[in-house]
């Protein structure tokens, strides 16, 4: 308990100094960047979740209107969620009226309980509740295993507003479009588009530099990427990795990665390779192009194989 609070206050201090003084930050800093006017991002670490990073592994952030604030994801633990909340407080006194839970992955949602006292609408995809019910127990166990005591207070928060299709929100002189997608990264992916700056928050529909992950369907993911590519986008925020490349370069890199897996897995199935052989062989030309390839690539091939073998 003491440990987690000690680290937490370090996080909050870092957030404070990061925003006000813009000084070099310590390793555990909770840094935020304004990627477009009113759009603030905190970039999560590529490292595996650990007591050192407290599950600060996904990009999270917020959009500030003239009336209120919308948070996009809350990070992988209560301390990260609290640091985000503190970062918002340093920017504005406006209330947090919406928290978007972009999809049911623990690196994105376990900080949500930090916002309970603000009584925002917690917005999620219509498929989110079923997946949350199915996964929360094992996600909580794994969080305790990885963070130990620091996992305390990282509770499951249920959405209060579900989206099918599109939902337009008004933050006060700033319209934001929340869009629910068909199965891709997961079966409950949301994106958030700030219409005034054309800033698209893609969450895990886009990985930049970090190996993309399939927990939905590879064919669906490729189809959704085609639709995303057609959007008029000025700025973008991926779920992992930086926002500084020119759109749509990183989307195309991800599309290339999935196309390689799709084509090579289909060929492996045609050539009667087993799922294990496929995971050993498919996509190796991509190995040096992505961070954490060893951790996630084989899983992607496994999922692709189990999907494509029935074609």
């Amino acid at each position: 308990m003491k440990l987690s609070y000690a680290i937490l206050s370090a996080l909050c201090l870092a957030a404070a100094s990061g925003v006000h003084a813009r000084e070099p930050l310590p390793a555990l800093a909770f840094d935020i960047s304004e990627v477009a006017p009113g759009n603030y991002v905190h970039y999560g670490s590529f490292d595996e979740r650990s007591p050192d990073n407290l599950g600060d592994n996904a990009n999270i952030g917020f959009i500030v209107g003239e009336k209120c604030v919308l948070a996009v994801d809350t990070g992988g633990s209560l301390p990260v969620g609290l640091a985000l909340r503190e970062a918002i407080r340093r920017i504005t006194v406006l209330p947090v009226c919406y928290v978007v839970l972009t999809h049911v992955h623990p690196d994105h949602f376990f900080g949500a309980s930090a916002f309970l006292e603000d009584h925002p609408q917690f917005i999620a995809h219509q498929n989110y509740p079923a997946q949350l019910a199915a996964r929360s127990r094992s996600y909580l166990n794994a969080l305790k295993r990885d963070l130990g005591e620091a996992a305390t207070g990282s509770d499951i928060v249920r959405p209060t507003l579900l989206v099918a299709g599109q939902l337009e929100l008004d933050l006060g002189a700033r319209k934001v479009l929340v869009q629910a997608w068909p199965p891709a990264h997961t079966d409950n992916d949301l994106t958030v588009l700030d219409e005034s700056t054309r800033t698209l928050w893609l969450s895990d529909l886009l990985f930049v530099g970090h190996t993309p992950v399939i927990d939905g369907t590879i064919t669906g993911f490729l189809a959704v990427m085609n639709d995303l590519r057609a959007l008029a986008v000025e700025h973008f925020v991926p779920g992992h990795g930086r926002s500084d490349l020119a759109w749509p370069l990183p989307l195309d890199a991800q599309r290339r990665y999935f196309s390689v897996i799709l084509n090579e897995t289909r060929a492996a199935i045609r050539n009667r390779k087993t799922i294990q052989q496929a995971t050993d062989e498919v996509g190796m030309s991509e190995a040096d192009k992505w961070v954490a390839f060893d951790l996630f690539h084989r899983r992607n091939v496994t999922a692709a194989y189990a999907e494509l073998e029935w074609e």
Binding site: A134, R135, N141, A142, R145, I275, R299, N300, A306
Partner: protein
């Protein structure tokens, strides 16, 4: 078969209760000593009683899988006999056990001397980091056990991806490893079954509701047993099995599958040497 079903279900429930009573024990990340596992002893008692299990299985059976599982809901595992099946000495059954799953007995696979090779390959779900144990039961009753530690978690409660339409349920596909069948030698076959293989942990299961999962798979060639398996929801959705069979002449390879809702599915193909095979 009916009796077995009841006892399997009771065993599953007993272990479920057992594990529910000891939560949060499974938090270590490093590989524990397989001989000291607190999970194994009650499972062993339930499945094998006081029978002696030889822990040195090197020359009998081996388990192959990746220590770091890529997808906890689909972990490929291969259990391979290290000896030939002969009339005199053969592996009668292979038990595949995921010891920290709520229902640890993933499958029991029965073989005969005609199976060619006692080998089974399937895909497992993992609820937590766990040992996978493979116990070989010889025709004279001796037991041997091999195991592997696997880092994977969340597979049992990871829900089924896509909803399966009723018309696909029980649909099967057979794929063969070679272009054509050869007589008098073991041929590798892959059986794919369209089935959600529901885990009762996967959705908001109401108490008393019976999850639908495949509970038995029977493979025969011209009426003679090739492989017979009792399986559980520790097997991934769309259950998938690879095994050998040794045809001596042309005949019908037949698959019969039953699930926990008493539905029966069957599929068969006619095999003859040198003729191109379906699948692939």
């Amino acid at each position: 078969m009916g009796e077995f079903r009841v006892s399997l279900r009771q065993a599953s429930i007993a272990v479920l209760v057992l594990l529910a009573a000891m939560p949060a024990l499974a938090n270590e990340k490093a590989e524990p000593n397989p001989a000291l596992s607190q999970y194994w002893e009650p499972i062993k008692q339930l499945m094998f009683g006081d029978r002696i299990i030889n822990p040195d299985a090197r020359d009998v059976i081996r388990v192959y899988l990746n220590v770091r599982a890529d997808d906890a809901s689909t972990v490929p595992v291969v259990v391979k006999a290290q000896m030939d099946q002969t009339e005199k000495e053969y592996i009668k059954s292979i038990y595949v056990i995921v010891e920290r799953n709520p229902s640890p007995a993933a499958g029991v696979f029965h073989f005969t001397p005609q199976s060619g090779r006692a080998q089974v390959e399937t895909r497992l779900r993992f609820e937590d980091y766990s040992f996978v144990r493979a116990v070989a039961e010889m025709n004279d009753g001796r037991l041997y056990m091999a195991q592997r530690w696997v880092k994977a978690a969340g597979g049992c409660s990871a829900p089924n991806g896509k909803k399966l339409s009723e018309s696909l349920l029980g649909k099967m596909k057979l794929r063969f490893d070679d272009d054509a069948i050869s007589y008098h030698k073991p041929n590798l076959v892959q059986l794919m079954i369209r089935h959600p293989n529901e885990s009762p942990l996967a959705a908001d299961f109401e108490a008393g509701q019976v999850p639908q999962f495949v509970r038995s798979v029977k493979v025969t060639f011209d009426g003679k047993p090739v492989m017979d398996a009792q399986v559980d929801f520790s097997i991934s959705d769309n259950p998938n099995f690879r095994f050998f069979f040794t045809p001596e002449e042309k005949g019908e390879l037949k698959i019969e599958v039953e699930d926990t809702h008493d539905r029966k599915f069957s599929h068969s193909v006619n095999i003859s040497e040198g003729v191109p095979l379906p699948g692939g």
